[in-house]
Amino acid sequence: MGLGAYEKVDFMLTVRVIPCLDVSHGRVVKGVRFQGLRDTGDPAELAEMYEAQGADELVFLDVSATHEGRDTQLETVRRVRERVSIPITVGGGVRTADDARYLLEAGADKVAMNTAAVLRPELIREISERFGRQCAVVAVDAKHTTPDAWDVVISGGRKSTGKDALEWLTLAEELGAGEILLTSWDRDGTRSGYDLELLQAASDAVRVPIIASGGANSAAHLFEALEHGASAVLAASIFHDGDMTVRDVKTELRGLGVHVRL
């Protein structure tokens, strides 16, 4: 039984196309392999533009989130929430259930945990039990070690953990993750397409939905990810650079037989 939503036809769950906005100090930035950031705009304005283009959800990753930066982050979430009527996932600096609470109260619908969950996996259970599984997204950055194995990397890719990515996904699901945001560290920023082997292995390993991330540069790339088990596809640069709108991409996907909301 195929689990990819793209296989279904008519009157069925659509595939989600999700622009990702990297935020630093209240502004949207974009990094190649998370370095060399450059300012590309206001999060609330971009969010509104993406909703108008047909984005199904938005993900905000605060690459500068620190204890000192929290107020700015929450203010950004509030400003975005005022402007859009689609789901918002916010990640960056989520270390405790209270951190999640502040983000949810500010208007996030889901919170993404990454480094803090790797260092203390119980965080997933705490957030999932307190706010519900549907709020608990676990973001995993995975890097190839051997042709069919991946390590979890943390701290914006600066540190390798030696943990097997697929084992970590399985544990995250057991602890209450409602969704996995899976980024290929090898592909992120390269525009060479998603790591399809990683997606296939991950979608076989867990039953929760997987959001594919890292490497997308075309609708064809998104289509490949959906064929390899992703339930949703996340991209940044193809949308931010204005090469293609979300609507362009979804129209192309529809042409390829994918069920999308247009």
Binding site: R16, R81, I86, L104, E105, S231, A232
Partner: protein, 196 residues
């Protein structure tokens, strides 16, 4: 007019508040049974699990207040878990009885599909629905009703099979999806209900 949003301490109702704000409808949070009894419109957002959700309603005496509203056909809207709390029971917390405002129970999705059911799915209404129109709605649920409650009109969607995406009877509307996260279509739905 003002909408009373039932708030028993669960955090993420900001999206519901923001949606009313965009509709220029005033709203306020309350866990007070008398306010819930007498408000013009009441919204029951639902996030979290069935058992704790019912416990919170009972703790504040909100169970009876909500049952009275429904019995008197006073405007009431329930979202997500809220729709399930209005029913009889849920596989999520066996043994706990719901508000029994409608006659259906919630069951977990089958193993054939990824759970939670996350994303935009099409809603197709029964003939003659007042609030629900055809369109795409945003869902985030692991449980759902499997049958139409007796005496309610149903907007349907499909995942592992067909299931009620929303039900309505008189001035009472309950949605498994999140209208507040369903773009313009969802806002228009909320607008129709606030106009009743």
């Amino acid at each position: 007019m003002k909408v009373a949003i039932v708030s028993t301490g669960i955090a993420n109702i900001a999206s519901v508040q923001a949606a009313f704000k965009r509709l220029n409808v005033d709203s306020f949070l309350t866990a007070d049974a008398d306010e819930v009894r007498h408000a013009g419109h009441v919204m029951l957002p639902g996030v979290g699990a069935f058992g704790p959700g019912m416990a919170k309603l009972r703790e504040h005496g909100l169970d009876e207040a909500l049952q009275e509203r429904a019995a008197n056909d006073m405007p009431l809207m329930a979202i997500c878990l809220g729709l399930q709390l209005l029913g009889v029971s849920s596989e999520e917390t066996p043994g706990v009885i719901g508000l029994k405002i409608h006659s259906s129970s919630a069951h977990r999705f089958s193993e054939d599909v990824r759970v939670p059911h996350f994303g935009w799915n099409e809603v197709v209404p029964d003939e003659g629905m007042r609030f629900i129109q055809r369109g795409f709605a945003y869902f985030a649920n692991s449980f759902r009703l499997t049958e139409a409650p007796e005496g309610w009109k149903v907007g349907w969607t499909q995942y592992d099979g067909r299931f009620p995406a929303a039900i309505e009877r008189g001035n009472v509307l309950a949605c498994q999806f999140h209208p507040e996260l369903s773009g313009e279509w969802g806002l228009e739905l909320m607008r129709r209900w606030t106009s009743c």
